[in-house]
């Protein structure tokens, strides 16, 4: 695996005593889009902030393309661009100068044509002379992305790029991320939204309470997480799942009043119509039915408990 970012045993305990990261290991592949998923306070921003030099780690090492972020910070930092979670802007700076400033800060010679391209890609060209405080929130976020791209980074960190962003900007952002990936830029983004990870990422990491619970190919993960459950409340309790319904892998609850069926809503055939037909043919009647998709929260809980079980067994 061609790893572009390698995190080993990275931990962080803030001065307040908060343990934001338990020792974390993570390898990011060159050119991939990696989504870091996790609830509030999971440690996503902390992880990114350490890699980008904003927060001192308590332990562990990070190398970017083989360059240690502490010993060889110059080479390491030249390669990365960061769009932080919060909007931080210089109120009186015009868009053009704040973006050119970023390029200079990272040691790159001026290149007006490139900056123009970045501004045009982000629909900021018309605003290039406007000062930051006169821009809307979404525009400011675009400028922050332009600043992060100004020095042509090889790795781009987007910390919750779509929080508080309208549908249009979200779509633009996704397009931009795909364009960047085509150019070979590695992208690491954090998000709360499982759909966002689903839409964009090649791989997904799930972090909870400072622990990286899992890192998996998106497709494999979505197959696992994308499941829905159909619950049928039966008119008469059953003692066991009837053999006619064996094909559907149903489970019966404790007192035999509910049948559960887990299905893939994106599959070609959900199996629900045929299940209902088979039930009618067997004379099993139900009072009510509902479907349910696990929320991100539940998925986290189940992931954590799965892991605990796994650890206990081994």
């Amino acid at each position: 695996m061609d790893s572009v970012l390698s995190i080993r045993g990275l931990s962080k305990t803030y001065k307040s005593g908060t343990v934001a990261l338990k020792p974390v290991d993570l390898e990011i592949r060159r050119g991939e889009i990696f989504a870091l998923l996790g609830p509030n306070g999971a440690g996503k921003t902390t992880l990114i902030s350490i890699v980008c030099g904003l927060v001192n780690p308590s332990g562990g090492t990070v190398t970017i393309d083989g360059h240690d972020i502490v010993r060889d910070y110059r080479a390491a930092r030249t390669k990365i661009g960061l769009v932080p979670q919060e909007l931080h802007t210089d109120a009186f700076e015009p868009v053009w100068s704040t973006v050119s400033f970023s390029r200079g800060l990272f040691g790159r010679p001026g290149d007006d044509a490139y900056i123009e391209k970045v501004l045009r890609d982000l629909s900021l060209w018309d605003k290039r002379r406007t000062i930051m405080k006169e821009l809307s929130g979404g525009m400011k976020r675009r400028v922050m992305i332009a600043k992060a791209l100004a020095h042509e980074p090889e790795i781009l960190f987007l910390d919750e790029p779509t929080a508080g962003v309208d549908v249009e900007l979200r779509r633009d952002m996704w397009n931009l991320v795909r364009q960047l990936r085509e150019r070979g830029v590695t992208i690491i983004l954090t998000t709360h939204y499982i759909e966002e990870a689903e839409e964009m990422a090649d791989r997904v990491g799930v972090i909870n309470k400072g622990e990286l619970i899992l890192v998996e190919e998106k497709d494999a993960l979505m197959r696992k997480l994308g499941k829905k459950e159909l619950t049928l409340q039966l008119a008469e309790p059953l003692a066991a799942v009837p053999p006619e319904l064996a094909d559907w892998n149903l489970t019966l609850n404790g007192d035999g009043t509910e049948l559960h069926y887990v299905f893939d809503p994106k599959g070609e055939r959900t199996g629900i119509p045929s299940l209902l037909t088979a039930m009618r043919d067997s004379g099993i009647q139900f009072k009510d039915l509902n479907t349910h998709q696990s929320s991100l929260e539940e998925i986290f809980v189940s992931l954590v408990s799965d892991r605990r079980l796994g650890e206990a067994r081994s």
Binding site: Y14, K15, S49, C52, G53, L54, V55, N56, Y73, R74, A75, A76, R77, T78, I80, L82, P84, E86, H88, T89, D90, A91, F92, E93, S97, F101, S102, R103, G104, L105, F106, G107, R108, P109, K147
Partner: protein, 258 residues
């Protein structure tokens, strides 16, 4: 792709950013020193100077010029440098500086270089304004300029430290108002310490600003209350102390990194 051993473009970016910030307030920035200097001459020159005609054979109006320049140089240096680094901490834009391939030295060079440039310009504007009221002779013009730059750099470093230490904008003002301005007024900016009676004269010798002002005054008139060597050594020692503190700040990330 790589940044060389020295990120000169990064230093220039910070320097230009800071100079651009000063240019936005150029007129107030220059009108203030011109008006205050004129006021000092009206008050000290006309009111007091008429009674106190000469100090050490120098006309009183001319005598206070180096002190006036130093007073402004101190406050301008501390204010510009502390504000320059405090602002990005306050607004959060410092994230970019921390994530950039900038060494501590380059960062300080950008901020302190710009602040010192502005403070020096203000001091020279005061000199030019003073020249309208009194005749100012400068015995050692190049040394005067060199001394001006050294003191500006030193107090800008000091200001930079204050800008990092301060938790809010009020704290930015505390040290300049409570320490630097009183020490300057008591440090012989407007009088010769030889005019003081004992024990005040000896006590005054513990005020470091006395040496700064006297060293500077020497470059104008070739005479001073204290030996010029002491003055230079004291300035240089303070300069090195500030550098050491800043090196420590960047090594530990004090108030810069969580």
């Amino acid at each position: 792709m790589s940044v060389g051993a020295f990120n000169h473009r990064g230093v220039l970016a910070v320097y230009r950013f800071e100079m651009h910030r000063f240019r936005r307030t150029l007129w107030t920035g220059l009108a203030v020193p011109v008006i205050t200097t004129s006021l000092y001459f009206v008050v000290f020159g006309a009111a007091i100077g008429s009674r106190m005609t000469e100090i050490d054979g120098i006309a009183y109006g001319s005598f206070i010029v180096p002190g006036l320049m130093m007073l402004s140089l101190f406050t301008e240096s501390i204010f510009n440098a502390s504000f320059g680094i405090h602002m990005p901490r306050f607004t959060g834009t410092i994230y970019e500086l921390l994530s950039a391939p900038m060494s501590a030295f380059e960062t300080v060079l950008g901020y302190v270089g710009a602040a010192a440039t502005k403070a020096t310009i203000v001091a020279l504007v005061i000199l030019a304004t003073a020249n309208l009221f009194v005749d100012v002779q400068i015995a050692h013009p190049f040394l005067m300029l060199a001394y001006l730059l050294l003191v500006a750099a030193t107090f800008c470093l000091f200001g930079f430290i204050i800008g990092i230490w301060a938790k809010g904008f009020e704290q930015l003002q505390v040290i300049p108002l409570l320490v630097v301005t009183p020490l300057t007024f008591l440090g012989g900016a407007f009088y010769s310490i030889d005019m003081l009676a004992e024990p005040w004269r000896t006590i005054t010798l513990f005020n470091p600003v006395v040496y700064l002002i006297n060293g500077f005054r020497w470059t104008f008139f070739g005479t001073a209350d204290v030996p010029v060597g002491y003055a230079l050594a004291a300035t240089f020692a303070f300069f090195l102390l500030c550098l050491a503190v800043i090196a420590w700040i960047f090594r530990t990330g004090y108030r810069l990194k969580a």
